[in-house]
């Protein structure tokens, strides 16, 4: 006797599989959708845009009545100075913590540390921004003699704390991917763990560690609320760590509300969005290619 499935059953299954495939490709649609809709809102300004002024000038006066200026150089410098300073703090600590979690602790300590790191990642960016205002800002004025408590250093410290978790988790994965035989060989040769980490693990896992750093950079470049609240939102090129700055992300968030739809200012803000999209796209693509390269080996 042959068992026959009902026609409707087969049809339903086909429909479900189609739905699964549709959801599967939805991520591609959304990435293109984001680019398309953000570009669509900003595109009309492209014909009026003077690229040399846009990228080369630090004059940002969108609200000027007779001569509005849209130079984003100060914003780009702001984004990269905050991100760079944050990475100076976060990279040694993040990767050091990754080494500690993966090589030096076991059992309970490891679990506790991982949970703490997850918590660090879960605290909302607006709470970090508030910590910048409420906790770090008085410290800045007291110990760093800053005239304004919300400044570059303040934002960088917050961004460092925010991007450390992703560095630790990706960095730990990279270290875990190094075969144990490498460690055993190093120990058998009489190396201390200090030597093992520097001479064996770091060279063997360098691609994965680089990807971890890049993902941290991507996170820091894209962060909005924390930098909006903690860097002072002052659009000029900073000269000291205690100068207030403005970043690309924070400027969009701060000024979108006061611009009119269809106006030049509004469209320029969307073009900045496209610029940000492109930067993070490249950073993430690079990190992904590096990680894939590790896996193929």
């Amino acid at each position: 006797m042959q068992y026959q499935r009902s026609k409707t059953g087969i049809l339903i299954e086909r429909a479900i599989e189609l739905l699964i495939r549709l959801c599967g490709i939805s991520a591609i649609l959304f990435v293109f959708g984001i680019f398309f809709f953000v570009f669509r809102e900003g595109a009309p300004f492209l014909s009026k845009l003077n690229f040399a002024e846009f990228f080369g000038s630090a004059n940002w006066n969108p609200n000027s009545q007779n001569h509005p200026q849209y130079g984003v150089l100060a914003l780009i410098v702001g984004t990269f100075s905050v991100t760079g300073l944050a990475m100076l703090i976060a990279v040694p600590f993040g990767l050091g913590a990754a080494v500690f979690v993966s090589e030096f602790c076991t059992g309970r300590t490891k679990e506790t540390l991982k949970i703490t790191i997850e918590l660090l990642a879960a605290i909302p960016s607006v709470v970090w921004g508030f910590i910048g205002i409420g906790v770090l800002s008085p410290i800045m004025i007291k110990y760093f003699h800053a005239t304004v408590g919300v400044n570059l250093l303040n934002g960088a410290i917050l961004l460092a704390l925010m991007s450390v978790p992703i560095m630790v988790s990706i960095g730990e994965d990279a270290l875990k991917a190094v075969p144990d035989s490498f460690r055993e060989a190093a120990i058998a040769l009489g190396a201390t763990r200090w030597q093992m980490v520097w001479r064996v693990l770091v060279p063997a896992a360098k691609n994965g560690l680089l990807a971890a750093v890049l993902l941290g950079v991507g996170r820091a470049v894209g962060e909005t609320m924390a930098v909006l609240m903690a860097t002072g939102q002052s659009i000029r090129i900073p000269h000291a760590f205690t100068d207030p700055v403005a970043t690309l992300t924070a400027t969009i968030a701060a000024e979108l509300g006061e611009s009119n739809r269809g106006g030049d200012h509004y469209q320029v803000l969307f073009l900045i969005g496209i610029l940000l999209f492109t930067i993070t796209f490249i950073v993430n693509l690079a990190a992904d290619l590096i990680v894939k390269g590790v896996r193929r080996k």
Binding site: E13, I16, E17, I20, C23, G24, I25, S26, A27, I28, F30, V31, G33, I34, F37, V38, R40, E41, F93, G96, V99, F100, F104, I115, E118, L119, L120, A122, I123, P124, S125, V126, V127, G129, F130, I131, I133, G134, L161, V168, G190, T192, W194, Q195, V197, G218, G222, T224, M225, T249, A253, L256, L269, G273, L276, F277, T280, F281, N284, D288
Partner: protein, 306 residues
């Protein structure tokens, strides 16, 4: 002969200047890397304790259950909590099914090909798009192009797309943890691909999938930039203290994240402990959500069948 018996294990591993030096180096290494880890944990604890200590005096049952008045400067945060609840619920109702099905596709159906690589790359990049760019997308696509206006719906959909890649990633991990033999056994008794997924793969990975979704609750509740331009109002006077305060398709709402931003930066005549109190509520929310997820995960580990 007697010299030979003198060599006990202790004697073999006796302290020599070399081993002593080695042991110090081990200790230095451990302290160095441990210090780096500690320098990350200590600020976290300091910050949480500081914020909670400052906010504690403003917190009370009344604060949580009354609506804000006078632009948020007085009163409590009930309607703010409800607004966050709306946005989180709607966005997860959209992103969880799509995310889980997308992960099923990537883990169970997709073969190794350039197309699958592109899909995976899209997921990675979607996760890396800055939150404010998600907001610009929501404004262009949902608020204007789809004609939803600034509403809870538009804000929720924007957040849904933002949380989607993380749900895909965590679900994929949960699905991949189900051993391949389970599937093979099921196929061998004549089940189709979908039957295998529904009866074997999903039931065995449901706890892992749910953990991933639960963790997104705290992320969706905390996001500010994308919702502030797509549907969350700075202040909105609301009557009543029930759960059904807003019309999700037409109205804007208030949300905890936006409320904290507004109170901390722009509101005037605010008690200094008020923003600390709101921050405390958010931190407690995040801690509660994460604790649930962690408890869930350890419970899942204890009843794992393989």
């Amino acid at each position: 002969m007697s010299a030979h018996t003198d060599i006990t294990p202790q004697a073999t591993f006796a302290e020599t200047p070399f081993t002593r030096k080695k042991r110090t180096q081990e200790l230095i290494a451990k302290c160095f890397f441990g210090g780096m880890a500690a320098l990350m944990v200590i600020p976290l604890i300091y910050i949480i304790v500081h914020v909670v200590a400052q906010g504690w005096q403003s917190l009370s049952w009344d604060f949580l259950t009354t609506n804000p008045r006078l632009g948020g400067a007085k009163g409590g945060i009930w309607s703010v909590i409800v607004g966050t609840l709306y946005i989180v619920t709607f966005s997860l109702c959209v992103s969880a099914p799509i995310g889980v099905l997308a992960a099923v596709y990537l883990n169970e159906y997709a073969k190794e090909s350039w197309f699958t690589r592109i899909v995976n790359l899209a997921v990675v990049n979607l996760a890396g798009v800055p939150s404010i760019v998600h907001g610009l997308f929501g404004l262009g696509a949902f608020v204007y192009a789809a004609g939803m206006g600034k509403s809870i719906l538009a804000a929720s959909l924007t957040l849904a797309i933002m949380t989607l890649p993380v749900i895909i990633a965590s679900t994929k991990e949960a699905l991949a943890a189900v051993p391949r033999q389970f599937r093979e056994a099921c196929w061998n008794v004549g089940a189709t691909r979908w039957q295998t997924i529904r009866r074997i793969v999903l039931p065995n990975s449901i706890s892992g999938i749910l953990t991933g979704v639960i963790l997104q609750v705290s992320r969706a509740a905390g996001e500010t930039a994308p919702v502030m331009i797509t549907g969350v109002a700075v202040f909105k006077a609301v009557e009543g203290t029930g759960l059904f305060l807003y019309d999700p398709f037409r109205e804007q709402c208030m949300a905890l994240s936006m409320h904290l931003y507004f109170i901390a930066t722009q509101a005037s005549n605010v008690a200094p402990s008020l923003p600390f109190a709101i921050a405390t509520v958010m931190i407690v929310l995040v801690l509660a959500v994460n604790a649930t997820a962690i408890a869930f995960r350890s419970w899942l580990r204890s009843r794992k069948k393989w």
